[in-house]
């Protein structure tokens, strides 16, 4: 079944925010990685078969304008919450991918009863009790995303030979990561203390070969959230929704449709 995506620009906090939307059913907000997102993914299409899926570009990433004042993922969280308010959506579930998982966790911690369910996949945002979040600042634009796949072939299936446009987009994404999450790098020291209030049930998904965010951070999330389960996916890296789209989509859809 083919999915038709609609692209719009929403004016939020003085900046044009790019939004892709498809499907119908309960609303699901998908928050992308630090490296941005390709326009189309099997994972997005699979979710759109059962849900009203919203994939905004974070402010400053991809086709969204950059707010010069943006300083923290919490700011991005507020912008996405504003987007949902403008669209008059209620009972939305959040699906956060990597860096987007951090943003989803910030949104939930600020509004503990607002979101229906929470899916965090390889989420940044918490200092891993063991290991460290990989530092993209000292590796090339290609080596960093590649490190997020268990198999190089999975990287190539998504990005191919990597166009110059993609390299530029990754540089811009990296700059935005620096502008919002430079220090401490890719985590918040206060977020873990604020997750206990979240009432939304949560599913925490991790690739068993995540070389970007150690799985110890997944355990920390599962512990900090009241009502959370951690599931790991075998032979899978950080970009789980790109490397194992069917598995991640199935886990996500099953969790979101459970009563």
């Amino acid at each position: 079944m083919s999915v038709t995506w609609t692209e719009t620009t929403q004016e939020i906090a003085g900046c044009g925010l790019h939004l892709s939307r498809a499907g119908s059913g309960p609303a699901v907000l998908v928050l992308h990685h630090d490296i941005g997102t390709p326009d189309h993914l099997t994972f997005y299409d699979a979710l759109a078969e059962r849900f009203d899926v919203l994939v905004p570009h974070h402010p400053g990433w991809g086709k969204s304008q950059r707010p010069e004042w943006l300083r923290h993922p919490r700011d991005i969280a507020a912008i996405h919450a504003w987007l949902l308010a403008d669209l008059d959506l209620h009972g939305v579930s959040l699906v956060g991918l990597g860096f987007g998982g951090w943003i989803a966790a910030e949104m939930a911690s600020q509004a503990p009863t607002l979101y229906r369910k929470l899916v965090l996949i390889g989420a940044m945002g918490i200092k891993p009790p063991e290991g460290e979040i990989a530092d993209q600042s000292i590796v090339s634009y290609i080596d960093y995303p590649k490190a997020g796949f268990h198999k190089p072939a999975a990287f190539e299936a998504i990005y191919g030979d990597v166009s110059v446009d993609q390299l530029e987009a990754w540089d811009i994404a990296r700059e935005m990561s620096f502008r919002t999450a430079w220090k401490p790098y890719m985590y918040s020291q206060t977020l873990p203390h604020l997750l206990g209030g979240v009432r939304s049930p949560a599913l925490v998904i991790w690739g068993d070969d995540d070389r970007i965010v150690p799985v110890s951070a997944g355990h920390a999330y599962a512990k900090a959230l009241h009502n959370a389960t951690l599931t790991t996916i075998p032979e899978c890296g950080h970009f789980a929704e790109m490397e194992k789209p069917d598995v991640v989509a199935q886990l996500t859809a099953d969790f979101l449709t459970q009563h």
């Binding site: 600042s137 000292i138 590796v139 090339s140 634009y141 290609i142 990597v162 110059v164 390299l167 530029e168 990754w170 540089d171 811009i172 990296r174 700059e175 990561s177 620096f178 502008r179 430079w182 220090k183």
Partner: protein, 413 residues
């Protein structure tokens, strides 16, 4: 002309083979290869070299700083500036420069510089730089805000040096509620500020807008002329005419009694595998957000190995042929330097004279010939061309102290 002696203060005692094996000689190249006993020896030898440069007639000692790499041992330029403030008597202490964005507290930096100015009895030239990309990474400073931090730290220090405290500073990157340091510069209105650089157009324009001299760091002659053109055009827009007092040029020069020996030692300018700052990943030198967005498309291709280094990779012979490096006897060096001076017309000249593994004996012979014979000849030649330094030209320290702007504007009308 103002002529300065400069060295990167090479950590020549590191094992180059280890760097080649690792594939990098900067940022992440382990400091286990650093020997502090050799470091101690070299620091003290470099102090001797500077004192010799003063004794033999250099106008200034140029200092800088870098981090996490063997090519430069100065991790804090104000340390050597402080030492020279007390140990020298006459030379200008020219810091080119303090990397402003690395300062978490510019107020403290202004205090250090003020102390150096007072201890040296007004001999400080306080240059400022953005710092290379690697310096940001080595210091944990956000490269994406590098230029904003540079400008804001400068503006704060300038205010400290020109307005009585206490005052409050509520900036974007710096907030200080009681700015009132009890160390202020002896030189009024404030010590001269020179800005060194290599290629950033934005920096050239900003520097011209301040009316600070811009020091081109061993750029090719054509590139240097392009920098002067951009500076001059900006100066004209600001209402003044740029002259040699606004321009400085740093060049690598090695002098010995014989050409053969000079050339042999000059090869040490290539000691970091031909790169000024050693072997490094391109994204270390240009972390995202550090460089101008106009260069983004070309840079990302270079960074993943699809395009050549925009700086090229000229051989030693190429660089001798293009006068990027000059080596020879005093007479030979004077001849070639005259050519460079004629073509770049700087009022300020830095001579980067010793690099890598040049022996102490040869370094000191080079300094004696350079400061004793070459510099006086070039200064005389420069005087004949009307190349005045900022003191000779009585140039204002900053645009705001210009007395010729209104007159020029009136003339234009």
């Amino acid at each position: 002309m103002h002529m300065m002696y400069f060295t990167e203060q090479p950590m020549s005692a590191y094992d180059a083979q280890e760097g080649l094996k690792y594939g990098a000689t900067a940022l992440t190249f382990s400091n286990k290869h650093y020997d502090p006993l050799e470091g101690s020896r070299l620091y003290n030898e470099y102090i001797e070299d500077y004192l010799l440069a003063e004794e033999y007639g250099a106008d200034g000692i140029m200092l800088n700083e870098h981090h996490n790499a063997p090519f430069c041992m100065q991790a804090k330029t104000n340390i050597f500036a402080s030492i020279l403030a007390a140990m020298t008597k006459r030379v200008k202490i020219v810091i080119l420069g303090n990397p402003l964005p690395l300062a978490e507290n510019p107020v403290r930096l202004s205090e250090e510089l003020s102390m150096i100015d007072m201890i040296s009895k007004g001999r400080l030239v306080s240059g400022f730089v953005r710092g290379g990309g690697q310096e940001q990474l080595a210091s944990g400073v956000n490269p994406a805000f590098n230029r904003e931090r540079f400008i804001e730290a400068h503006d704060l220090i300038q205010k400290i040096w020109t307005e009585p405290g206490p005052f409050r500073w509520e900036g974007t990157h710096y907030q200080h509620r009681v700015v009132n340091p009890w160390a202020v510069p002896m030189q009024k209105p404030y010590p001269r500020v020179w800005i060194p650089g290599v290629l950033s157009k934005e920096t050239v324009i900003w520097t011209a807008q301040q009316r600070y001299p811009y020091i081109a760091l061993n750029t090719a002659i054509d590139a240097t002329k392009a920098i002067w053109d951009l500076y001059s055009q900006t100066a004209s827009e600001c209402g003044y005419t740029a002259g040699p007092e606004n321009f400085g040029y740093l060049i690598r020069v090695h002098v010995q009694d014989t050409e053969e020996k000079a050339l042999r030692n000059a090869r040490q300018f290539m000691w970091m595998q031909g790169e000024f700052t050693g072997l490094a990943h391109p994204v270390w030198a240009n972390p995202s957000g550090y460089f101008s967005p106009t260069g983004r498309r070309n840079f990302v291709q270079f960074a993943v190995g699809r395009a050549k280094n925009p700086r090229g990779n000229p051989t030693f012979e190429d660089q001798i042929a293009s006068t990027m490096i000059i080596a020879g006897t005093p007479d030979q060096v004077i001849e070639r330097l005259k050519y460079v001076v004629e073509n770049t017309r700087p009022g300020i000249m830095g001579i980067w004279a010793n690099d890598g593994n040049v022996s102490k004996e040869d370094r000191q012979r080079c300094i004696k010939l350079l400061c004793g014979e070459v510099m006086p000849a070039i200064k005389e030649f420069g005087a004949g061309l009307g190349l005045k330094d900022p003191w000779e030209a009585d140039a204002p320290v900053h645009l705001r102290y210009s007395t010729d702007l209104a007159q020029r504007q009136a003339a234009a009308e």
